[in-house]
C-alpha cells in the first residue's frame, strides 16, 4: 500500500528555511502568515506498514531534530470480506 511520512523540524529548533518562506510571502502580497515550517514528504509503497515506525526511527527521520507522522490509507473493506 501507499504510505506517506511527513517529516518536520522539531518545535523550538530554528528553521531558517521556514523563516525564509515566511519573509518572502508578504513580498508577494500574502499577509497574515506566521509560524511557517518546511519539512519533507516521503511517499513509499510498503507491504508491511507496521515497519514504518522503525524505518522512521532508523533512517527516514533523525528523531533528535525531527518529528514525523506516518499516514497509512484506511482501505475500505471489500464487499463480502469478513
Amino acid at each position: 500500500m501507499r504510505a506517506r511520512v511527513l517529516i518536520r523540524p522539531k518545535a523550538g529548533i530554528l528553521d531558517p528555511q521556514g523563516q525564509t518562506v515566511e519573509r518572502a510571502l508578504p513580498a508577494l502580497g500574502f499577509h497574515g502568515v506566521s509560524d511557517v515550517h518546511v519539512g519533507r514528504l516521503v511517499e513509499l509503497e510498503v507491504t508491511d506498514p507496521s515497519q514504518l515506525e522503525a524505518m522512521c526511527e532508523q533512517l527516514l527521520a533523525n528523531p533528535l531534530i525531527e518529528d514525523y507522522d506516518v499516514e497509512v490509507p484506511t482501505q475500505p473493506r471489500p464487499p463480502g470480506a469478513l
Binding site: I13, L14, P16, Q17, L59, L60, N62, L64, I65
Partner: protein
C-alpha cells in the same frame, strides 16, 4: 602507529587527511566496503558528501560495512576523529551526541576560523592547553551543531565540549558556539572545521596537525 582514513563514494577530503596522518605516522586508506580496519591504531572519518548526502547529511554512510567496524573500534576505546561530514556521520551513527543542521544562513560557509580549546578530556586534545586558540579553516553548509539543553549541560559538565568557535558571527549558528564534541570516554572527537587542511605553514596554519600528533604521541 597506523592511522586509517575512511573514504565513501562522495568523500573528497581523504587526500588531505591521508597527508596529515602521514606526517605523524603511517597513513592507511580504508574503503567504505571494508569490513575490517586493516589493523589501524586510529581512524579518521574525513569530510565530503558521502553517498551524495541524500536524505540527510551522514544518514546513509553510517550503514556502510566500514562504519560497523569503526563503531566496534570506537566502543573498544580506539581513537576516532570525524571531520565535517565525518562529524555528521558519527552523530548519525550515535557515536557522538547531537546533530548537525543546515547553517542558519542556508549558505556554504568557508573561512579560516579561530577555535578555543575547552577540554583536554579527549585523546585528540590531551597535550593541548585549555584556553589556547587554534586557527583552522571551516567549509560547510550543514555545520549548525544542535543538542537538547539537558544534553548540552551533560556535555559541558563532562568536558565533552572540546572546541568552540571564537567567531562573531558564527559560520553556522551552532548552539553554545560548539565547534567540536567528544564522547564520554574521550576517544571519539567530531568537529566541523578541517584540521587536515591546517598541517603546514604554507597554507597559513599548522595548528590542525596538533590533533593528529596528539593521538600519534599517545599511541607511540
Amino acid at each position: 602507529m597506523k592511522l586509517g582514513v575512511v573514504a565513501f563514494p562522495g568523500t573528497c577530503d581523504d587526500r588531505d587527511a591521508l597527508d596529515a596522518c602521514a606526517r605523524v605516522g603511517e597513513a592507511v586508506p580504508l574503503w567504505h566496503a571494508d569490513a575490517d580496519l586493516h589493523g589501524v591504531d586510529a581512524v579518521v572519518v574525513p569530510g565530503g558528501f558521502s553517498y551524495g548526502d541524500h536524505l540527510r547529511v551522514g544518514a546513509v554512510a553510517r550503514f556502510s560495512p566500514v562504519m560497523a567496524a569503526v563503531a566496534a573500534f570506537a566502543r573498544d576505546g580506539g581513537p576516532v576523529l570525524g571531520i565535517c561530514n565525518g562529524f555528521q556521520i558519527l552523530c548519525e551513527a550515535g557515536l557522538l551526541p547531537g546533530a548537525l543542521l543546515p547553517n542558519v544562513s542556508l549558505r556554504f560557509a568557508m573561512r579560516q576560523t579561530t577555535l578555543e580549546v575547552l577540554s583536554q578530556a579527549c585523546d585528540w586534545t590531551r597535550p593541548l592547553t585549555v584556553g589556547e586558540r587554534l586557527s583552522i579553516p571551516a567549509k560547510h553548509t550543514s555545520g549548525r551543531y544542535f543538542a537538547p539543553v539537558e544534553t548540552l549541560r551533560e556535555l559541558d559538565d563532562g568536558g565533552q565540549i572540546v572546541l568552540r568557535y571564537v567567531e562573531d558571527p558564527l559560520p553556522n549558528g551552532s548552539v553554545a558556539d560548539v565547534a567540536g564534541v567528544c564522547n564520554a570516554a574521550g576517544n571519539v572527537l567530531g568537529l566541523m572545521p578541517h584540521p587536515e587542511h591546517a598541517v603546514d605553514e604554507l597554507t597559513g596554519s599548522a595548528d590542525g596537525l596538533r590533533l593528529f600528533a596528539a593521538v600519534s604521541a599517545a599511541l607511540a
